[in-house]
């Protein structure tokens, strides 16, 4: 299972993409990730349009692949569930995560 977190828009428009492959994690951390996914509210957000953006508001996307049907959930800052924020922070900060920063449009 691969979890990808995309953080974009904001006052720069820059795009930070963080990818974490759960297969690279020890069993305990895999369980922690699954727990975060369970409480992230992704199923409810799947396919739903985020609220219209305020100027320079952050925009987010969480993708989950390799665990049943692929999930793509998008959120505006003002409507980001606490569980999704916790998942994004965990993925973005994990040492096994591969991250890259790109200008808007990438």
């Amino acid at each position: 299972m691969k979890v990808t977190v995309v953080r974009g828009a904001g006052l720069t428009g820059m795009v930070r993409r963080s990818e974490l492959d759960a297969a690279e994690l020890p069993a305990g951390e895999q369980e922690a990730l699954l727990g975060l996914l369970e409480h992230a509210g992704l199923a409810a957000a799947q396919g739903a349009a985020p609220s219209p953006a305020h100027a320079d508001e952050m925009a987010y996307e969480i993708q989950v692949e390799g665990a049943g049907e692929p999930i793509i959930a998008r959120f505006a800052e003002s409507s980001l569930p606490d569980g999704s924020r916790a998942l994004m922070a965990w993925v973005a900060e994990h040492p096994a995560t591969r991250s890259r920063l790109a200008p808007p449009g990438h």
Binding site: V6, L11, G13, R16, H54, D56, A102, P104
Partner: protein, 341 residues
């Protein structure tokens, strides 16, 4: 800390006689009527405890809460002494500098034109790499040290002016935050954010650095968020175009990578036009060029306006309010970036 107040004549005269060399220079310039003197720059011993100001500001501490915690606990109100938290004092300072700019230069009474109190909310979330106007208030993250320098966002006067100008746009042209109108929305925020900085620092168009958010990014990423004089050169990987030949037609599809249809990419084109017009006219950019752009934003443009509309209206206003010299400078600036009317 006394925020953003215009020093009275007797204080200026005293500083001109007794201040440090820098204070004497600043006082002479202020006495000559060329720019306001910011008391915060002065030796606190020389600054009076209370000077008149029309600004109305509050600062709240979100205490690392999220959207549901806004605005947070009130920690500073207009007239209060500085507090121990730099972010609070800096947010008040930036809001005051922006208030003063709009009031003194453009005759505008706050964000809504009717004296709206500027509410600033600091310490939003944890390690949060953004500052934004949420439609009603300013929200500042602390920065993570990975994208933004920790604590930098409340220090950047042009970023604060940029964000608060989104509120002005919301109350005037109402430019849609999508694709080309969204890029114009970003452009006007960059213009007036830069002008708040130039006015506050007493820089002419020739002296200004024309950068947005200089020093806010961690140094390994670059020197600033955007450059109006040389779009595409602010940070490593910056792709902002300076000409319509480089216009990026991205979808506005809620994909965070597409930036509401490239609003922070294509703003480089009108940004460069403003820079070209202001430097061609010369002197202080907040005077002729700033007034022309302000009148376009507040009286001529609307939600679906495009670059060509902004060009047409600014050229017309320059001719109506100034001479053919200013009008030619504005027309040539838009032509140089490939925007035709």
């Amino acid at each position: 800390m006394a925020c953003c107040r215009i020093a009275p004549f007797d204080l200026l005269a005293r500083l001109e006689r007794e201040g440090t060399e820098a204070q004497q220079v600043a006082a002479r310039r202020a006495l000559a009527g060329t720019l306001p003197l910011r008391v915060t720059r002065l030796d606190p011993a020389l600054a009076p405890p209370a000077l008149a100001t029309t600004a109305k500001r509050t600062v709240h501490d979100v205490a690392h809460g999220g959207a549901s915690a806004l605005p947070g606990r009130l920690v500073w109100s207009e007239g209060d002494a500085p507090v121990a938290d730099d972010a609070v004092n800096e947010a008040a300072q930036g809001a005051g500098d922006t208030w003063t700019f709009y009031e003194q230069v453009l005759g505008r009474d706050s964000i809504d034109g009717h004296g709206q109190t500027i509410v600033s909310c600091v310490h939003y979330e944890r390690d949060f790499d953004n500052a934004f106007w949420d439609g009603a208030e300013m929200v500042y993250g602390d920065g993570s040290g990975e994208l933004f320098v920790v604590g930098a966002l409340t220090k950047a006067i042009d970023v604060i002016g940029h964000e608060l100008t989104h509120g002005v746009t919301q109350n005037t042209a109402g430019l849609a935050y999508s694709k080309q109108p969204g890029a114009l929305n970003e452009h006007f925020s960059d213009v007036f954010g830069s002008l708040v900085k130039q006015y506050t620092q007493g820089q002419s168009a020739a002296q200004a650095d024309w950068l947005i958010g200089a020093g806010t990014l961690v140094p390994s990423l670059g020197r600033a968020l955007r450059s109006m004089s040389a779009p595409g050169t602010a940070y490593d990987g910056d792709e902002q175009p300076a000409h319509m030949d480089g216009y990026r037609d991205l979808p506005d599809d809620a994909d965070p990578a597409n930036d509401n249809g490239g609003v922070h990419i294509n703003s480089g084109i009108p940004n460069h036009a403003f820079y070209l017009a202001a430097t061609a006219i010369g002197g202080n950019a907040w005077e002729a060029a700033g007034h022309v752009w302000y009148e376009a934003l507040t009286t001529r443009l609307q939600a679906d306006s495009l670059f060509a509309d902004a060009a047409r209206e600014t050229i017309a206003i320059a001719g109506e309010r100034y001479s053919s010299t200013e009008q030619d400078a504005v027309a040539q600036a838009w032509s140089a970036v490939g925007v035709t009317t």
